[in-house]
């Protein structure tokens, strides 16, 4: 089902969406950065923007995620789950991030399902804005996660100039449109053609970043990457963990209890597989004590055939955030290229 909404109608539509719950959208932050934030008014939302560096995964998987409250009642411990049931709409989110959330949801649905994550994901409506111009560092075309999507969204918008083309992907998407049904009308044949043309043009407009996962995957999966290469690349990583933090598909965490008002709150926190103590055992043994081992592990998870088979996609959506945030120079395209060529900085 395809519809259109005139541009001047979006404010009214957003007002309706805001009545129903929190609307998270890219806005201009206090220091000029584009950031995802809860809208206070429909006019804050940005329509022409480069994807925020901080990904929207924080709204399904917060950096600090309180899971249960533990209270001491006499001699007994009482455990009370913490539910975040707030209905949220993620608005003007980009294709790569939609694919990222789909990846996270598949992972958290797997046995045993993660109730806390799924509660947030179920209450989240994703209204995406297809990328008619890919972002400069993006390479989503290499990971099949953009610039336009064919699934994964609840509603996909495309900027047609005077109006937005709206593709419904789910019942939640239909419900979002139904908040202001008078603003939407069925798309005409020429509008469908325009949308298809825009997608074709967008695919020709990518920047210089590419990521050839195919041949890298063959080498990674069969252990044909030389140890010396991992070691060399390891020296160009500063263990900041930034690649994990901004990655739309990274979900590793650690758990820590927080003392708060006479109770303990068990929190799940983002963690990074690149940190030295990430896999450290209580015995003192560290199975991945060296940077090269941690890096090897990361890229095996991201781009091996073993994980590709399980997840039916590589652990990368081509958003290019790791390129921007890497404190060293071991971001996804650089490492994949090195693995493919068998050499680094030569």
């Amino acid at each position: 089902m395809v519809f259109t909404i005139p541009k001047e109608g979006t404010t009214q539509w957003l007002e309706k969406l805001l009545e129903a719950g929190e609307v998270i959208a890219p806005v201009r932050g206090p220091c000029g950065d584009v950031i995802f934030s809860a809208l206070r008014s429909p006019t804050q939302v940005l329509w022409d923007f480069e994807n925020p560096l901080h990904p929207p995964k924080q709204f399904v998987l917060p950096q600090t995620d309180p899971l249960v409250k533990i209270k001491l009642n006499g001699q007994r411990h009482e455990v009370e789950p913490i539910h975040d049931d707030a209905p949220r709409t993620l608005f003007n989110v980009r294709s790569c991030d939609v694919k990222g959330i789909a990846f996270l949801t598949r992972m958290h649905e797997a046995d045993p399902p993660d109730a806390s994550y799924l509660r947030r994901a179920r209450n989240l409506t994703i209204i995406s804005l297809a990328c008619t111009t890919p972002c400069p560092a993006g390479f989503c075309v290499c990971t099949d996660s953009g610039p336009f999507l064919s699934a994964g969204y609840d509603l996909q918008l495309t900027d047609l100039g005077g109006s937005f083309f709206a593709e419904v992907g789910s019942e939640k998407g239909e419900a979002a449109m139904a908040k202001a049904p008078e603003l939407f009308r069925k798309a005409r044949e020429d509008e469908v053609t325009d949308r298809t043309a825009l997608e074709a043009v967008a695919k020709t407009r990518f920047g210089p970043e590419t990521c050839h996962f195919g041949s890298a995957m063959r080498r990674i999966s069969t252990g044909r990457v030389q140890d010396a290469l991992w070691e060399k690349m390891g020296d160009w990583c500063l263990e900041c963990g930034g690649c994990n933090m901004v990655c739309p598909t990274c979900y590793c965490f650690s758990v820590k209890d927080l003392r708060q008002n006479g109770a303990w709150v068990r929190c799940r926190m983002w963690d990074s597989c690149q940190y030295n103590a990430f896999a450290l055992e209580a015995s003192g043994h560290n199975p991945r004590a060296h940077r090269k081992e941690r890096m090897k592990r990361r890229f095996f998870h991201k781009a091996s055939a073993q994980y590709y088979t399980r997840d039916s996609m590589v652990g990368c959506v081509g958003c290019g955030r790791c390129i921007k945030t890497c404190l060293g120079s071991t971001h996804m395209p650089a490492v994949v290229a090195a693995i493919r060529k068998g050499k680094w900085h030569e």
Partner: protein, 636 residues
């Protein structure tokens, strides 16, 4: 959830990020692509900056120890008690002292300095980390007349040659390491002077090995190699520098290796070269000499005073520069002016309405050992000072200790009065990075319990000592800072957004004073083993790390596994001595002996035994007051 732009509380690189908070408090950190230093990047510490304020053992209400019993008190009672006791001590002619902090804001440091000088009438004023970086700053002043850096982190990225005296830049200053990496990736020559084959030295094109404490000698070799190349235009050098002939004479007998010649060529040929020097807690004279030699090298090769070229002292804690600028030193006034600088004295007396004490005060170690009353602002001396646990013992003997702290540190635990202050995430104020960039801290969430912003607490204490002024915000304090030290006058009200303001001292007008002092080397001649206290800052005992679940893991696991500490040695040495990894060795020096477990590394220079700063107390008997000493090593 509204992101709050603020400045990183860890090292002195001066990164910025957004703190994310909801009704329950801090929840995370988001990077900023528009921040002029960070440019969208953060290190591991930055990414977990919100954790310590949230998880930390926070101080929530004023505590007063009355007759051995710690009781909570109202703010008014606590202020009365502090003012009463300190006034008693001063009236009885007993010495009192004040410690500022490299992790407090400029405003807090300024007020604590005002409290000491105008309120208590004493120059017993210092901050613990200054004893570590003071020799370095003095060495730079010897040559340049000032210690301030002449390059920024962004300049490093476009350097053609980088000379790095390596501690472990990748972990001490990841943002600076990132800039070095970017330059190397673009083809820059990286020359490292190091005793360990660290990550940065592996990236470098030239490694000049040096025994710890003897880095200055390697720089002498570089200087001799540079002079040997015959610097281009002698007249040009003499126009900028004085002491050229004496320098030449002094370097006559210095040995030059082939690597030194190669490195010298890289430095001389570069149109843009940067010189990076970390302050390590070595001993005064060698550190000062090392810094002076490096500044001399930069000056004689024309890289001082040239745009995009220059020196950058790598300060460990975020506001070391600011604390120095606020005059937190026993012999300096705000602006880091000498104590006897008449103009500054007059300006401060007019501003504060009090005559200032003229005799230089005691430094941090001496303050701990000789005062009867002590105010400690946001610091834990035993963790920072080289004297380690002896500082704890000294603190325990002081009659009256007042701690202004956000966290329950060992110092706060033994203080007679605890005044709970806001952490970096809960207060306004400014921080001056090692580049001289003054940036804002902003309030992301409220302080816990009854804790108050540090500047408010200090302003109230000043008022109780009749040096009050009415400040309605931290910006008001900053305004006064600008009246006291003119280079901060331009900072005033920082605009919204990142908008950091750079403070510069302006050209000193004079020439660079070249020179290499003769200081006996710390390390003994070939053949003997040398035990060295690693000089890197002990982040593991900084409350912002030790209270952070993610950041403390590494340090805690190391301390758990080695409750008696360890000493590191290279594989060859371990084989010769016949000691297995983890097994103890007995170390004997002229000072004494100790038995300690070993950790074997493959990247250390043979003959060097390294004890991490965190474990220095375990070898206090062997090291004595030295940072390096010759030792006999045997199986225990």
């Amino acid at each position: 959830m509204l992101p709050v732009p603020t400045t990183c509380p860890f090292c002195a690189c001066g990164c910025g990020f957004y703190l994310l908070a909801n009704q329950g408090g801090l929840v995370g950190v988001a990077p900023s692509e528009t921040h002029p230093v960070s440019l969208g990047r953060l290190c591991a510490r930055g990414w977990s900056a919100h954790e310590a304020a949230l998880w930390g053992n926070r101080l929530r209400q004023p505590l007063v120890n009355r007759n051995g019993k710690v009781e909570s008190a109202s703010w008014n009672e606590a202020f009365d008690h502090v003012a009463g006791r300190i006034k008693e001590l001063i009236a009885a002619g007993k010495p009192v002292g004040v410690l500022g902090s490299a992790r407090a804001t400029n405003e807090e440091n300024y007020l604590v300095g005002k409290l000491a000088r105008a309120g208590f009438q004493t120059n017993n004023l210092d901050f613990c980390y200054r004893s570590i970086c003071a020799p370095l700053l003095a060495g730079l002043e010897d040559v340049c007349g000032e210690y301030t850096p002449s390059v920024s982190l962004n300049d490093i990225e476009s350097s053609q040659t980088i000379l790095l005296i390596e501690g472990d830049l990748a972990t001490s200053h990841p943002r600076a390491a990132s800039a070095v990496m970017a330059a190397v990736e673009k083809g820059a020559h990286l020359v490292t002077i190091a005793h360990t084959k660290t990550q940065m030295s592996r990236l470098g094109s030239i490694l000049l090995p040096a025994k710890p404490g003897n880095e200055g000698e390697v720089i002498d070799g570089l200087l001799a190699a540079v002079l040997d190349l015959g610097p281009e235009d002698r007249a040009a050098v003499e126009a900028r520098c004085e002491g050229y002939d004496a320098l030449r004479e002094g370097l006559k007998s210095v040995k030059i290796t082939a690597e030194m010649r190669q490195a010298a060529e890289c430095i001389v040929r570069a149109t843009r070269a940067t010189f990076l020097i970390p302050p390590v807690s070595g001993e005064g004279p060698p550190s000062r000499r090392e810094a002076a030699a490096l500044a001399t090298l930069a000056a004689v090769t024309g890289h001082l005073g040239r745009l995009g070229s220059g020196l950058l002292p790598l300060l460990a804690r975020n506001n070391v520069r600011g604390a120095c600028d606020m005059g937190i030193a026993p012999d300096r006034l705000p602006g880091y002016r000498p104590l006897d600088d008449k103009e500054t004295q007059q300006r401060l007396q007019d501003l504060w309405g009090k005559k200032l004490p003229s005799a230089p005060g005691l430094d941090a170690e001496s303050i701990l050992q000789s005062v009867n009353g002590l105010i400690v602002l946001a610091d834990n001396p035993p963790a920072v000072l080289p004297m380690g646990q002896r500082a704890m013992a000294a603190l325990g003997k002081i009659e009256f200790v007042v701690a202004l702290e956000a966290f329950l540190t060992p110092t706060a635990q033994i203080a007679q009065v605890v005044l709970p202050i806001a952490s970096f995430a809960e207060t306004e104020g400014t921080i001056t990075s090692m580049e001289g960039r003054v940036q804002k801290l902003r309030v992301a969430t409220g302080p816990p319990g009854e804790a108050r912003p540090g500047w408010q607490v200090l302003a109230e204490l000043c008022a109780r000592f009749e040096v009050g002024a009415s400040y309605s915000s931290a910006s008001d304090v900053l305004l006064e800072v600008g009246q006291g030290s003119p280079e901060y006058a331009s900072v005033r009200e920082l605009e919204d957004g990142w908008g950091g303001v750079g403070v510069t001292r302006g050209p000193n007008g004079g020439k660079f004073r070249l020179g290499v002092a003769k200081v006996p080397p710390l390390t003994p001649a070939e053949g003997a083993y040398v035990l060295v206290r690693d000089g890197g800052y002990d982040w593991g005992r900084d409350p912002l790390i030790s209270f952070s679940p993610t950041l403390s893991r590494d340090y805690q696991s190391q301390r758990k596994l080695f409750p008696n500490g360890f000493v590191e040695m290279c594989k060859q040495d371990a084989d010769v001595i016949g000691v297995h990894p983890g097994r103890p060795v007995k170390l004997t020096s002229a000072q004494g002996n100790a038995v300690i477990p070993t950790r074997v590394r493959t990247d250390l220079t043979p003959g060097v035994l390294l004890v991490p700063y965190a474990f220095r107390d375990h070898l206090a008997s062997v090291l004595g007051t030295h940072s390096a000493t010759a030792v006999k090593v045997e199986q225990a």
